[in-house]
Symmetry: C2
Subunit: 421 residues, 2 copies
């Protein structure tokens, strides 16, 4: 069953046609749709789990690693968690209609800059059915239509979940095409999606570097790339070494496979001898593979540290592996981070207000931390309620992408006949 470009255009056109209604729907209807999704997830849970069981029983699923099978698998508890997440989004403040700027010009024109939906958001994602619900909830709340392009491994699960969402939209008086699930056609269909200028207002890829690179080569619609997270912890000469130890271990070990985990530890030479033996031993005990420069090896005590390659400083390991370097001072630390980092999240551990200020001003990243773990960069942790990813771009959205980042603005200007000289 192949998806031709015409099918993709038809899917995108359907979402676009619904966008005008979605954009002006009262918040009561949008929240009503979210409440209906939560209810239907509960009442339809048997159908959803049955569809998921079919995906899991498909012989193609045998190719998946245990970790991927786990991500694909739904359970009663996981469906309940999805419903709770949707209600959480419903409880958030409406981002639409916010007046971003307002003034009366000298000629009497009343100028307002108003927050409005983007239109149609497309999300391409891997075999994680919960993304279907998470993303649909965020786009419905923010007045957008969404074109969902999930993995074929999760086709039946996504289908069951998309049916729930579309039924919920209709029950709330909104067009079902506010959420369109595009299926079939394999990765080639991506090119068809990424070139729908005028129909897709924003494309968000949620997946690995392969997906991103495939899109970069062909996309003509606006794309928000969530780049890699090569995050750093820098222990300053005036650090509290107990905080330094605790933050370093947490930033590396608590969840090494995510983008806000630390990949490099930088230690000021003044505290290297005092900090390194203890923290390296603790990291090694937690199963972390360590690579370091010469000064680190000298201060490693009994812990095994391999010699770091040039490449290690630029690598997002996404694993229990950490690169460690000793730096001369704050300035060298900032230079290292700005040269090798990915502009995601970087932390300094220091009791010096002066050093904290320089680090926060000069490190060029979406999030800079003083005396806290890099692991907090996350829409939920930041109090945004939910997120669709973390942007390391500087344009439009930097950091967690929540409801506001799914909007644009429009100048609304009212006059009574004004013309320009």
């Amino acid at each position: 069953m192949e998806v031709t470009l015409t099918d993709m255009t038809a899917d995108c056109s359907a979402a676009k046609a619904a966008a005008r209604t979605m954009a002006t729907a009262p918040i009561e209807n949008r929240n009503g749709a979210l409440a209906a999704i939560a209810e239907l997830l509960s009442s339809e849970v048997e159908n959803i789990l049955a569809a998921n069981a079919e995906d899991l029983a498909d012989e193609r699923a045998r190719d998946l690693s245990p970790a991927l099978v786990d991500r694909l698998t739904l359970s009663r508890q996981r469906v309940e968690a999805m419903a709770a997440g949707v209600l959480e989004v419903a409880s958030l403040e409406d981002p639409i209609g916010e007046i971003l700027d307002s003034r009366t010009l000298q000629n009497g024109l009343d100028l307002k800059k108003v927050r409005v939906p983007l239109g149609v958001v497309a999300v391409v994602y891997e075999a994680r059915p919960n993304v279907t619900i998470d993303c649909a909830a965020l786009t419905i709340k923010s007045g957008n239509s969404i074109l969902l392009r999930g993995s074929s491994y999760a086709e039946r699960s996504n289908g069951a979940l998309a049916r729930v969402v579309r039924e919920a939209l209709e029950s709330a008086g909104l067009p079902a095409d506010g959420v369109v699930l595009s299926t079939g056609g394999g990765r080639e269909a991506l090119g068809g999606l990424a070139t729908q200028d005028g129909l897709i207002d924003l494309l968000i890829p949620r997946g690995g570097e392969g997906l991103k690179n495939a899109l970069k080569a062909v996309a003509t619609v606006p794309v928000l790339y969530a780049a890699a997270g090569n995050c750093h912890v820098y222990v300053h000469s005036e650090a509290d070494l107990e905080k330094a130890r605790s933050i370093t271990v947490n930033a590396k070990v608590s969840r090494p496979g995510v983008c806000n985990a630390a990949e490099t530890l930088l230690v000021d030479q003044e505290v290297a001898a005092a900090l390194l033996p203890k923290v390296l031993a603790e990291l090694a005990a937690a199963g972390v593979e360590l690579v370091g420069d010469e000064q680190v090896l000298e201060n490693a005590g009994d812990t095994e540290v391999k010699v770091a390659t040039d490449e290690d400083w630029d690598t997002e390991f996404l694993d229990l592996k950490l690169a460690v370097a000793v730096v001369d001072d704050l300035d060298q630390a900032v230079e290292h981070i700005n040269r090798h980092g990915s502009g995601h999240s970087d932390a300094i551990v220091t009791e010096s207000e002066q050093a904290a200020r320089v680090f926060m001003d000069d490190v060029d990243a979406a999030a800079v931390y003083v005396n806290a773990s890099t692991r907090f960069t996350d829409g939920f942790e930041f109090g945004m309620g939910a997120e669709i990813g973390v942007s390391t771009q500087k344009l439009h959205a930097r950091g967690p992408v929540g409801l506001r980042e799914l909007t644009t603005s429009k100048y609304m200007v009212r006059g009574d006949g004004q013309i320009r000289e």
Copy 2:
């Protein structure tokens, strides 16, 4: 004298190296540099005019149309106007450091979202020397470095102006490389500029469609495109016809060569007979070539109106030419605008609050007007003090691009040892 990629990389690297100092420079220094530019423009005016005279005397300048020669020509008065513009920018509010969001999380983390400079902005522009000063002033004020890439026709003028700016930066304690003028290499050098990932944070082309298309094919750095302005005036059935006449004529005739000029007039069928004969006669008398649909031709009276082609509805004439159509109702007008418009500026003339609201909500454009000319979409008119162009993108910046649009944000998070569970 060819610019190799290495030269371009050297130019961009110089601007990037200065960016860290520019970004954290106190507002006193940034405004001090602007004041110094204004002074030096005055004291160096003879040198500037001499350099400009050389550009104009160059045999290559013979290829230029009279309009382009006019844009290239500097005079004492025009240099004074540039200086006044710089002081105007100095008087604007500092966009940097603004707290966009602030909260204390439950775990005690102090979270602030702060407005910060982008880093290095590159501007590619045509043979208009004043752009050198206008853009440098905006980027200095917003804490950015700038890489200026002007036309070779204006090379000597731009060189004299860039020297003024660099001297002003140094006199204010800022690095001269906060403003770098890149010259030589012809249009091929553009590709070298547009692929400086990691050095150029934003590229803004100021020029025609040819320049934009050349960049679209090669750019890997973020680009802000100022798209075409296919702007509409829609006269609703409940319009004040005198306002309709005045706004239509102003939107078309006052300056037909700019992006906020109207290109299409839509007239509700209920008022076509009452409005069209008079307004078409006035437009024709002002030298406007008119094309229209069948119903327009029927209501044209003595005025000559040619039959509009399908293409006319999609064309930004940038000239004394207007496409005119009669529409059934508000809904058809909105459909027409959203299908054919470029999302720049569109106006409704109506005394109906209900119609005004629907139009403003449903027309998908950077600026929507009620009872006012589309010609007001402009950074100066909007009270932003200055602009570097008008964006029709939905991401990052929509509408006039002023100081705020030359910034990004950074999350600054302070803790006292917080780690994530």
